[in-house]
Amino acid sequence: MRLMNMLSAAALAVALLSAPAALAMEQAEQVKLLATIDDRQRNGGDYKAMVYLEQKEKGKADLVYELVVYRRDADDKLMMLFTKPKAEAGKGYLRLDKNLWNYDPNVGRWERRTERERIAGTDSRRADFDESRLAEEFDPSYEGEAKLGKYTAHVLNLKVKPNVDVAYPVLKLWVDKESGNILKQEEYALSGRKMRTALYPRWKKMFSESKKDNVWVPEEMRIYDEVEKGNSTTILIKTVDLRPLEANLFTKAWLESKSR
């Protein structure tokens, strides 16, 4: 009886000690989860995507664009170039180091913009088009598991690391437990005010020659403005081209040369 008591006490102790481990995720594991999300979306070489961008605002006509997004993930470079509508063609953004430059061929001028720039007047931000850098920019904490529609998701709270400039310093992520893709992302200001909610209902998986592995692409992003209720942006990544790009593509001179 005494032995039985001891055994059951030991079993209880083991169960109690292991319970938090089963529920929570180790800090290292959380970082690893973020790193995996980042890594899956990163292509070792270059990346070019044809993107449709749409903004809906209450009481206003919709804004629609088509643009080409160029990325060189190896050295953190990004360029976005608008192709449609005709009046917008040739306008673009170029990210060099920590600068986000805006270029308008109508006036031939470069202007430095911030991380909070509303890309082409929509609710999207630079980070929505860029390489995923969650592990590099944020510190995670685990909140638990939750159902999101038919999916079971890990819910993580992310806080920006010191001296990193991002559009929103606090994020809440729903990551699909099964496939490891982000399903939903809520973005908060430092004050705790909810600013945007982004939903990622469709992902594309494709093999990359340069990476020698699969690359995951969020095919559809639905972004809802939580401050100006009723405003929303949708980003559709229509096609992706993983072939190498011109070497000097990510320079001001290159973009200017195209409008000469």
Binding site: V64, V68, D97, N163, L183, P201, T239, S259
Partner: protein, 702 residues
Amino acid sequence: MGHFRLLLQVAFRNLFTSKINLLIGGIIFFGTLLVVVGGALMDSMDSAMSRSIIGSIAGHIQVYSDDSKDPLALYGSMSGEPDLAALDDFSQLKPFLEKHPNVRTVVPLGTSSAIITSGNTVDLTLSRLRELYKTRDDAGETPALRENIDSVKGHVRQMVELMAAQTAKSEQELGGGANKDPAEVEALARARTDAFWDTFEQDPYGALELLENRIAPQIPDGDMLELRYAGTDLDAFQRTFDRMEIVDGQAVPTGQRGMLLSKLFYEEFLKLKSALRMDHIKQQRELNQKTIATDPELQRWVKENQTQTREIIFQLDPLKTREMVSRLQKLLGTQEAGLEPLLTRFFTLDDDNFDTRYAQFYAELAPLLELYRLRMGDTLTITAFTRTGYMQSANVKVYGTYQFKGLEKSAMAGALSLMDLMSFRDLYGYLTADKKAELAAIQKQSGLTALNREQAEEALFGEDSGVLVAEAASTDIDDRAAFLGAEETLKRDDLLQRVYSQQEIEQGVALSAAVMLKDPEQLEQTMAELRQAAKDAGLKLRVVSWQEAAGIIGQFVLLGKLVLYFAVFIIFVVALVIINNAMMMATLQRVREVGTMRAIGAQRSFVLGMVLVETLVLGLVFGAAGSLVGSGFMAWLHSTGIPAGNEALYFFFSGPRLFPSLSASNLVAAFVIVLGVSAISTLYPAFLATRVSPLQAMQTDE
């Protein structure tokens, strides 16, 4: 008749015999004086204000689309830019309005606002350098261009040195560069090396990118300004609106794109801040008699000039810096070698040295400085939200500055710059049928269905949603289309040179039409007739007077008038009460006299007549005296003018001085009013007088 003569005799006999009559006469005298002078001043101000607004931009009548959501507000309203529907084609509206016999001219207008941004000083200098290299690539190097490139390069190198010095200084003050990004420190160190500058020419664009991306962001960002402008046919505008005058530069050449900045905007927002603060101090000292010793605002400006010297230091190239140092050394009689401490010393101002320093600043220092961020002939990049929601930028050449006479100091009128109609239309971005179809096609091609926030999560992640991950393959993307548009917009330099025909200017969108009349007296009638004509022609137009169109300024004029009318009304009420009381006293004093007259047979009507005629005679005599003195006073004011002591008066006077004039109507009105008031205030005392019975009068003790 004999009866009336008798009454007049009595009245004249009594005119100066009673002290009370003198008191009443005095009140009537001052009352008339006030009405004559006040009325004439009010009329003069009213006509001055009206002239300012009519002659500035409003015209007599404004016509705009009846589909507009907001009323027209040419000077803007509290809630920003009014939401107006466009007049699709001004060239159709113009002949329609000109058909009316009283219409002299019609001018197209459209107001809007936009943002102008500029990078920081380093950004601006670097983009100048980039332009120079591009010119070299296109047209080859000339000795003049080489010299120019070297001079700007020297300037940039000096800026880098200044930034390093400032970083070192702030590190010293704050103790260690704890928060400094190592990449920034490294970049700054690299940009200071001789090696960097020696190899600059081998890859100028590479070197520029380092400076633009790593160095320039290290100093705070540049400015963002809001610019309000009116797009118009600039030639017709200048011919029609006589209050507009060019201050600096020149008019925009006929038919060309270009802009005239408001003088007030140019001074307040584009002038070197240190110089602007000097101007403000001077104005406050002279106009409002403030002193640096007692006024905290003036002290703040002095302090800002002492500490905020960077704007000056950064804009000087090495050569000018040396010159500035030597001039300051001479002026201050010191051997100090640093420009920053020299400037701080120079800007240490008090009431004794201000006038000298002010003169020295403009005579000695200003010639070395760019006093304005924008020179006449420079191009300004303007970015606006178009009607369709897309952003649109345009380069517009600034030819000069202008002001509206009489509204020079009005912050609202001074916020408005003038732009040619072609640039205005580019920035306005009218949604044509073609554009609409293009947008619809792009949207349709996306195959996207709209989902609102409430239904989104269920639709996208619920049981009926599709698969989360799909297999795909890398597809070749042909991005040549991305540059086709860019090639089409290459004409930007040609656009600035192009001369547009009158037909091109008039054919297209405008937001309103300003109408000048031949006979302004028939304003109301003409408006009614134009409304009827529009109705008959099936045009949905709103026709409003200048006062309505001027929005907040129009209301301000109305308010000003109401305040003046109210003041005059109060004066009359007071006069009425005083005259009434005085007459009561006068009547009561004369109870015995009236009683005696009644006893010897005077009728009640005779007594009533006596009192009334007496007051009327009083009113006539003293009223005439008041009018005479008032007219003399107005004649004097008309020749000397009244100075506007502050900005509000400047607006009411429509200029630095008001030269009021007196019209016959002012005199007649004053006379009628004064006589009316005296008659009304006498009615009750006169009625009391008729109630006096002889018995009652005889029983009264002396």
